[in-house]
Structures are given as structure tokens and as C-alpha cells.
Symmetry: C2
């Protein structure tokens, strides 16, 4: 798979984190790129989040680079705003962009001052090292508690030619990862204006990053960026919008699922499909509580078809439904019909549940709302107590 | 401490759970007792919960006995309603109470038929074995994943004399124990009418069982009962109401904290006090998200004064506040003032945090709302990734 045209990348160790491991990274477009971004909904927002929001607006969604550091969230500190701004100014100067065309992002510890000097001193080296090949270096530099680097690529052929999409992300799908910052950066060489790009990102985020159990409990620093620099010379025509959006969604879902798979001790990716809710929002609420239920997740880890836990979790989602009209399928096997147990071959289903992917389908038959969520199983000691509880 | 007068207890093994361990228990009052109860808010409710609700109403809050089984939740089954009713009828007949004066409660696996015969066959033995001393046997019989039995006792002197209160409970404060059924049964020999008793239970529940991180994600079977049989001959006069309620709250808080201390791998009890919220409800919402935050709980486990995680959790409680007006204290040490780090002696505070009790105080200075919550720390592998993250 080819990387999108017109981007260069670099990563270096700036001394921000204790371990000597790259902690500062740049993603630079050769020309101003249409840029859309979504940020954390937390009331406590890190300085780079506040500045990034302002910069996207001030540049009217035409930005040049993304500057990312790991090891320090630059949040709840005295000098935070100044540090974020000085970093963007210094990067802009070296890259010949206005400061407002630099999008800052940070991840790491909260409440510890981040010395601006660490960043400004490392920037010249970083800029000198920019290369079209260093995509993977950036993917590694932004990690914190992640076990593996996460990247995804796509090529899609539109009316006027082929465009490329490449994304990298960090974040670790923990038990209930309420403060594990998620950063995601997706670059494409398609040519598209900022306004339609923002609409695409909003919908794609809803179908990916907002559909893993990371979301909801947002960190102070969560940031997801989509850049389109047009370097392919291929314009996204109105007729291409749907297929282009589908390709963006594919990349974002792939990245989001990689976050879930990197869950602490996770052995299985669980997909939760809810249909028949009063609304899509209601379906998402039900899928979310199932995804966040440790007892469901331990049952899956233990390959235990304990559908009662799924039904119970659905019951406290705050969405009205009739328990007597609920059907549940596990790995395609009917385990609950009309809120009651359906006959199934336990040993056979257990074997099916040993697979690295688990599909839970819940049909509540109260409307047309549907949603898909992803989460991981819960292993370790927690399982010792819960997974064998049913038998 | 003396047990309340006029109650008898019994427990036996009825073959409901696989392990040969008592799984059926009776608490019987010698005379009809004023009875108040609160139940799960889950949309999926077990048959015994639905029947108990009806029986409290039908008996006008004057009940004779509580019949409890462990090993099967009697929820989402074809025969559930009939089994619950037949059990109460059989118990009522043997105890010379109307069926509506028997309060049923179940805990265990969901979606597996519970044979009524197991209960009705064991009931005669159970009734024959009733004894004033078997309180502890009942406390053990109702356990499922709990590691220890949980009991609490109080004596309180009112205007007309002394009354006794005794409570037993089950439930295990797990990571996010959304479906670990909580059962709590509190008996007193005070003389008080059902209506004021219900008011006392409602408030006491709010300050105890609803203030541990078990609540919110309620199981299908959660049940908390308060019985007052008047066997002491001591009436609770209007002037005694406050002191009597305080004693009930003490017992309920003690039981609720025992549930938290029995958390999976828990080594510390964490108390979270939130003040200065717009309302008490807002304070409770903030205390709850802090209590449910695995990253806060792992930091406490690692004696890491990572106040940024506390501030961040508060930020997604959905309660408006100004982060620049937040003060945080850990073990009485100021760690955050006005949303920024306060200077503290790290090594010293770490030693203080090694204690088995941890106090987190959050003052958000936006009103007069206050709340106290209890939760436990998170240990094991989860800590390996998170607890050392800050240093």
C-alpha cells in the first residue's frame, strides 16, 4: 500500500519522558491541507486541545502540520497555554507556516509542567529529519501505555483517479479506559474542501472511535484529525463522496479496532450489534453498556455463553424495552429468544467462542435503531472469580 | 453486641448451587414486622424482585419472613414467577404467615430454571432448624462470589429504652460490579410503623448502598430490606427518629463498606468526599465517576498521588464546574489548588497513601452540594501498566 503523496514525517527523543524513546513527532504536509478535527468532551481540557481547536478555526481548516508529544499531557499546568503556543510558533517558523496552521497534540501525565525548551530545542533536528518514509516512526513515538504501534492504509479509486489514506493512532483499550488518551491522525492526498471533510470526519468518528468502549469517558487530550492536502490532484467529486467516506470509515474503524485489540490482557475482539432499539442513539446506549460490562467481557474471555449477563447489562442502559421481546445470538447461535433461554449445544458454542473474534447480536424489537460497538474481553484474575460463575 | 429480639434464622443446602454449601436461608420474625424495601432499577427484574415488591405492598408493609436463595437468580426463566410464588406459599404455610407476608430474594446465575421442588423440599428442615443464633449461618449462605461474610450490629438507646439493629449482606465490590447482585437484610426490634420506616430506609440507602460504586449499574436482583418487629417493646418516638435513623445509617454504611473492602484484589478502602458542587446530585455524580475510574483506583493502589487523574475524572461527570477553582486533597495533604499542582512532599505522601484507608477530598467551589462515596483500589496486572505511568 502506498502512503498519501505530499506528507513528510519525523520523530525524535526530546527528553520529555523518562525512558529514552522517541517522544516528539511531526507530520507535515507540503502544502496547506484541508483539516478537520474532533476533540475530547471533557470539561477539563489540555492546553494543546484548546489551542488546536482555535487553530483549526483561525486557519479556516487549512493547516500545514501536526506536532505531537508523548510523555506529558500539558494539562492542568501553569505554563501550559504558553508552552503549546510557543511550540506551534517555533514549528511554524521552521516549516514556513503560520503558527495557526500547526495543530498541537499531547499525551502523557497530567499536572506536570512541560518545559517549552525541550520541544523548541528538538524541533530543528526534527524538521531536518523529515522524510516521506518515517510514518512508522511517528506511529511509535506517540505511544504511551500501548503495547503495539497502530497504522492503517487504504487506496480508493474515485472518478478522477486514485487517492491514498493513511492513519496512525495511539490508545489502549483497557478495562474502562476513561483517561487513556486517544490520538488519531489520518492523512489523505485527496482534494476536498474543509467543510465536507469535517462532515465526513464527524460521521466516520461516530462509526469508529466513538463506537469503542474508549469513548464517553474521554480524556483531557483526545484528538482525532483528518488532513486532505490534495497532492494527488484528484478532486473528490459529489458523486465520489460516498465511496471516499466509506474508505475513511474503513481506516478509522481499523484503527479503532486496533486500539481495542491492544487492550490490557485482551485476547479477543468483541463486536456488539444491537438492532430494534427505538433510535440509533438508544441502540448505541445499549451496545455501550454491554461493551463496558466486565461480567460480559469475562464471560467471553472464558468462552462462557452467559447470555443472562448480556440481557442484564442491556437492562440498565436507560433505554425502554420489553425484556420479553429480546433475542440474543452468540457467534451466530441463538441463545436467547423472547427473553428466555433458547436450546443450544453448550460444548459446541464454547468451542466457537474460543475464536479470537466474538460476535454478540442483540435484537430488542422495539424500533429501527441500530448500532455496532467494539470492545475486548477481560482476562486474568477477574476471570477467576467471574467466568466460571455460571457453571 | 446483642441480636435484635424476636427473630430466628436458619440456613441449609437445598442443592441449588453445584458446590455443597448452604444456599437457602430464612429470616423469620416471631410477629408481623414493619417492613420497608428498595429494589433494583434494572429494566430486567428477576421474578423474586417483582413478587417481593407486590408482597410488600399487599401486606401493607407488615411481613413475617425473608426467604433467600443463592446459586440461581430466578431471572429470565419460564417458570420464574411460579417458582417464586410457590416458594413463598410453602414458606408461609409452614410459618403460619400469609404468602404475601414472605419476602423472596434470589442471587446467582441468570437464565437457568430454578426447580421449585428444591426449595419446597428443603423448607420443612429449614423451618425446624430455626434458631435465634443462626444469624451468621444466613450471612454465609447468601454469599456467591464474596470472599467473606458481612454482618453489622448496633444498639441504640431511645427515650423508652434500648433497641438492637443487626444487618447481613452480600455483594462484592468488583472493578465495575454491574451485575454482582447486592442483597442486604437489616433487622431491628424497635417499634415503628411501616411508613416512617420506609422513609428511613430510603435516606439510609442513599447514604450507604447507593454511595458505593456497586450502585447505578444495578443487577436484576438487588434487594435491600429493613424489618422492625417491635419485639423490644420500645417505640421510636418522634423525638427519637433522628438518632434511630443515624443508627440504621451506621449499620448500612458499615455493611456497604464491607462490600467494597471485599473487592476483587482490593487492598484499600477509598473514601471520596466532594463538596462545593451546584447540588448534592452533582456532587454525587462527580464522586461516582471518580469512584469508578480505574486509573484513579490503580494510582491509589500504587500509592501514587496522581491528582491529575482525579481532576480528569471529575471533568467527565457531566456536571458544570470551573477547573480553575478545584482543590484536591489526598490523605489530608493539599495536592491541587485552583486546578494546578500544589507543592507537596512526594515521598511523605506516598507513605501516607500506603495506609489501608485512602481519603480523597475534592472541593469544586461552585455551590453547596456535597456527597461521600466509597470504592476500593485496583491491584494486579492493571496496575503494572497504569500505576507507574506518572513517574
Amino acid at each position: 500500500m502506498n502512503l498519501p503523496l505530499g506528507y513528510r514525517y519525523a520523530a525524535t527523543y526530546a527528553g520529555i519522558r523518562a525512558q529514552q524513546r522517541d517522544d516528539l513527532a511531526l507530520i507535515v504536509s507540503g502544502m496547506p491541507a484541508s483539516t478537520a478535527a474532533v476533540f475530547t468532551q471533557n470539561r477539563v481540557q489540555a492546553a494543546p486541545v484548546k489551542l488546536a481547536r482555535r487553530h483549526v478555526k483561525a486557519s479556516e481548516g487549512r493547516m500545514g502540520a501536526i506536532l505531537i508529544n508523548a510523555g506529558n499531557a500539558n494539562c492542568a499546568t501553569r505554563s501550559g497555554d504558553r508552552v503549546a503556543l510557543e511550540s506551534c510558533q517555533a514549528a511554524g517558523k521552521l516549516l514556513r507556516y503560520a503558527a495557526r496552521q500547526i495543530l498541537p497534540a499531547s499525551t502523557g501525565v497530567i499536572g506536570v509542567e512541560l518545559p517549552a525548551k525541550l520541544i523548541t530545542k528538538a524541533l530543528p533536528t526534527l524538521v531536518n529529519n523529515l522524510s516521506g518514509d518515517a510514518f512508522g516512526d511517528v506511529a511509535r513515538a506517540i505511544l504511551t501505555t500501548d503495547l503495539v504501534a497502530k497504522q492503517s492504509f487504504a487506496e480508493v479509486t474515485l472518478s478522477r483517479g486514485t487517492v491514498r489514506i493513511a492513519g496512525l493512532t495511539k490508545g489502549s483499550g483497557m478495562i474502562h479506559p476513561n483517561m487513556a488518551t486517544t490520538l488519531g491522525f489520518v492523512m489523505t492526498d485527496a482534494q476536498i474542501a474543509p467543510a465536507p471533510l469535517a462532515k465526513i470526519l464527524k460521521r466516520a468518528n461516530g462509526a469508529s472511535y466513538s463506537a469503542i468502549s474508549v469513548d464517553g469517558d474521554t480524556s483531557t487530550n483526545d484528538t482525532l484529525v483528518l488532513m486532505a492536502n490534495g497532492a494527488s490532484g484528484v478532486r473528490v467529486l459529489p458523486a465520489d463522496l460516498e465511496i471516499f467516506e466509506a474508505a475513511v470509515i474503513t481506516v478509522l474503524q481499523d484503527l479503532a479496532k486496533q486500539i481495542v485489540r491492544d487492550g490490557e490482557g485482551a485476547k479477543k475482539l468483541i463486536t456488539i450489534e444491537v438492532t430494534g432499539a427505538p433510535t440509533d442513539q438508544g441502540a448505541a446506549a445499549i451496545a455501550r453498556v454491554i461493551a463496558n460490562s466486565p461480567l460480559v467481557k469475562t464471560a467471553v474471555a472464558g468462552s462462557d455463553p452467559n447470555w443472562g449477563r448480556i440481557l442484564c447489562a442491556a437492562g440498565y442502559a436507560g433505554v425502554p424495552f420489553d425484556p420479553a421481546k429480546v433475542d440474543i445470538d452468540l457467534q451466530g447461535v441463538a441463545v436467547c429468544r423472547g427473553g428466555l433461554g433458547a436450546p443450544f449445544e453448550e460444548a459446541d458454542l464454547k468451542t466457537k467462542m474460543d475464536a479470537p473474534d466474538c460476535l454478540i447480536r442483540v435484537a430488542i424489537k422495539g424500533g429501527k435503531g441500530r448500532a455496532t460497538f467494539w470492545t475486548c474481553d477481560l482476562t486474568h484474575d477477574y476471570i477467576r472469580i467471574n467466568a466460571s460463575y455460571r457453571t
